[in-house]
């Protein structure tokens, strides 16, 4: 009976790596929702206190805080690496998505620097789009120096995740659950660090 239930659950539920991917996507959505809610809340407060009608663009301009070149560059780098690390963790070997992975591009995968080409493609195509948005999002928050320093750890976590993914690719067809979990853990921690300024800003605004 329990075996039947287990097999039924296996049929219904996606494999746990996919469930964890959904968790990452949910975390990113929560970050997006917090940002939107933060702006809405600020707007409603200003609306209540303002004597006259105001323009939303003007409000956003007024909210803008320069976070500094280093922080902006760090965030662009971190988000680009985050996308690359996530793609590598899920799409580098045929383990999770057998029909959608790096090795379905045999010319690229057969080359010595195929991984670098694949990574560069992820960095340049979706990474570039995100890079155009990310610093603007952070510019609406008052980010403490402590939090900025904490974010310096993000690329380190992401490099660790990349190492784990590449290691999984090099040992394939063998698998290593610990390495995969380590890669996922570092990826998730990086995401939390990346979203932390937004979540803290929203929490403070709520308070």
């Amino acid at each position: 009976m329990s075996l039947l239930l287990m097999s039924l659950l296996q049929m219904i539920l996606p494999r746990y790596e996919v469930s964890l991917l959904i968790l990452i996507i949910i975390a990113m959505l929560i970050g997006g929702i917090c940002h939107h809610a933060y702006l809405q809340r600020v707007q409603s407060i200003v609306k209540k206190t303002a004597d006259s009608a105001f323009d939303r663009r003007a409000l956003l301009k007024a909210l803008h805080i320069s976070q500094g070149s280093n922080f902006n560059a760090l965030m662009i780098l971190s988000w680009s690496l985050f996308l690359t690390a996530m793609t590598f963790l899920y799409f580098l070997t045929p383990d999770i998505f057998p029909d959608r992975n790096y090795f379905l591009f045999p010319q690229m995968a057969s080359e010595s620097y195929g991984l670098a080409v694949f990574g560069a493609a992820v960095v340049l195509i979706p990474g570039l789009l995100i890079s155009l948005i990310v610093p603007r999002v952070y510019s609406y928050y008052l980010i403490s120096r402590w939090l900025k320093n904490l974010n310096l750890l993000t690329p380190i976590f992401l490099i660790a995740s990349l190492f784990c993914s590449i290691n999984l690719a090099t040992i394939y067809p063998k698998a290593n659950g610990f390495i995969w979990s380590l890669g996922y853990g570092t990826l998730l921690v990086s995401l939390i660090l990346l979203l932390l300024p937004i979540i803290i800003g929203f929490a403070e605004e709520m308070r």
Binding site: S69, N72, A73, L74, I76, L77, S80, L81, T84, T93, F103, P106, Q107, A109, S110, S112, Y113, G114, L115, A116, G119, A120, V123, L124, G127, L128, S131, L132, P135, I159, L162, F163, I166, N167, A169, T170, Y172, P173
Partner: protein, 471 residues
């Protein structure tokens, strides 16, 4: 006699009708109150037969009077009576045999055998409908070179007596098409062809004027004559004779290939029908045997469209090369590493020698076959074979990442026939390729180099975007 009977019958009908009207008119009319004072016909009149002429006169007078009164007092009834008594006038003109027959075709009167056209016949019948007869139409054709007309439509087209109409210019005209003749593709000769219409009503026969058409023919052409493959054919290669056929008229062209030997004798021939424009292709292998190796042959074509026959000049070929029999053995592969990774080199070998005494140049090609890459050419080279056995080898990297974890086989194909009269030898390799996908370790120059390259690109992107958009 018939006319008299008809008149008598009509008169009787008139009298009976008038009698009925008179009785009706004399009935009291409560609604209108208008009645005619007409005495009823005397019984003696009705029963007198032919004896009471005076009484009949009187009765007729009364009837006429009643009708005249009715015309004035009840004009509606009078009109109804007129309609009732009206008889269509009919003609008594004599039957005319002066039919006007016409015959025409759509399109040009000078045409080739495959040009499509429609033949239309018109008949003008001057007779009125009462005396018309059904007409039976036949289309007749006099083909080029023939002496007599032939009927085109065995089943006659029938024009019924009521199938005429006025078309503005002509009265009583009708037209018929003849779908039995839409082209002259059946003709074996060209020249003037004559059409005419033959009409019969069962008693008289008519013929239309002749319609003369000039049927032409343009001869077919044979171009781009060749033999495939070229050159250095073996006697048992698939020898293909090709020629492009064009016929300006779109006729089907009968093409015959004639193969001649070195003594100019015909070795054989083969025929093919090409519909319109197209390519004639003949497989010539059936005409050659092992004894023909080293001999030179020639060929030519005869071709025609059923009217014009023609032939090409004599062409050279095929020049069959001298037959060499080679001996092959021991196809083998030695992987660079016993793990059989896809990225490694593999040494494919084949033992070969010439069974004859002379030297022979043989082209050898290596093919590998996996489910990801079926029969992919890996390498090719020309080797010179003598009676001394030698090992022909190809040290190549024939696989890519898609071949990982797959079994494979390989094939050596060569340009001469071996001891089994085959020009290839295959070998299945039992051991599958290793499933490992990435050739290097994580902690290696390539592993670290790939990560550093990704970091460098991401770092450059961040600097460039920050400087470009946020300063």
């Amino acid at each position: 006699m018939i006319k008299a009977s008809l008149v008598a019958l009509a008169l009787a009908l008139v009298l009976a009708s008038l009698f009925s009207i008179q009785v009706a008119l004399c009935q009291p009319d409560g609604g209108q109150g208008a009645s005619l004072d007409v005495p009823p016909p005397s019984p003696s009149t009705a029963s007198s037969g032919g004896g009471g002429g005076g009484h009949r006169q009187i009765d007729l007078d009364r009837i006429l009077k009643a009708v005249q009164e009715g015309k004035q007092k009840k004009p509606d009834k009078f009109e109804e009576l007129k309609k009732l008594l009206y008889i269509e006038p009919f003609s008594t003109v004599p039957y005319s045999t002066d039919l006007h027959l016409g015959l025409g075709i759509s399109g040009n009167r000078t045409l080739n055998r495959n040009d499509k056209f429609a033949v239309t016949a018109t008949v003008v019948n001057p007779n009125p409908i009462e005396i018309r007869r059904a007409l039976y139409l036949h289309l007749e054709a006099l083909d080029p070179g023939e002496n007599s007309f032939k009927i085109v439509n065995p089943v006659a087209q029938i024009v019924q007596i009521n199938e005429y109409k006025d078309d503005g210019n002509e009265k009583n005209i009708t037209a018929r098409a003849f779908p039995d003749l839409t082209s002259f593709s059946h003709l074996k000769k060209v020249g003037p062809a004559v059409l005419r219409l033959s009409v019969s009503d069962g008693q008289y026969n008519w013929h239309s004027q002749n319609l003369t058409l000039n049927v032409t023919n343009q001869p077919p052409r044979l171009e781009n004559i060749s033999i495939m493959p070229q050159p250095n054919l073996r006697y048992n290669d698939a020898i293909l004779y090709l020629a492009n056929v064009t016929d300006p008229d779109g006729d089907s062209v009968n093409v015959t290939l004639h193969i001649k030997d070195e003594l100019d004798r015909e070795r054989g021939n083969i025929t093919q029908m090409v519909a319109g424009d197209g390519q004639a292709s003949f497989l010539g292998n059936e005409f050659f045997s092992k004894s023909d190796a080293g001999k030179n042959f020639t060929y030519y074509y005869t071709f025609g469209d059923g009217i014009v026959s023609n032939e090409t000049t004599v062409q050279d070929g095929p020049n069959l090369r001298k037959s060499i029999s080679i001996h092959v053995e021991k196809p083998w592969v030695t992987p660079e590493d016993e793990n059989q990774y896809w990225w490694q080199n593999y040494n494919f070998t084949l033992g070969m020698k010439n069974q004859g005494q002379e030297e022979a140049k043989v082209q050898v090609t290596l093919f590998t076959d996996t489910s990801a890459h079926p029969w992919r050419a890996a390498a090719s080279k020309e080797v010179t074979l003598t009676q001394e056995p030698q090992v022909v080898y190809f040290n190549v990297r024939p696989f890519d990442v898609l071949d990982a974890n797959q079994s494979f086989r390989f094939k050596f194909a060569y340009s001469e026939y071996d001891q089994h009269q085959q020009d290839y030898i295959t070998k299945d390799w039992e051991k599958a390729l290793n499933a490992k996908l990435v050739r290097y370790e994580t902690v290696s120059w390539l592993g670290i180099g790939n990560i550093l390259a990704i970091l460098l690109i991401a770092f450059l992107l961040s600097i460039l975007v920050e400087r470009g958009f946020y300063r």
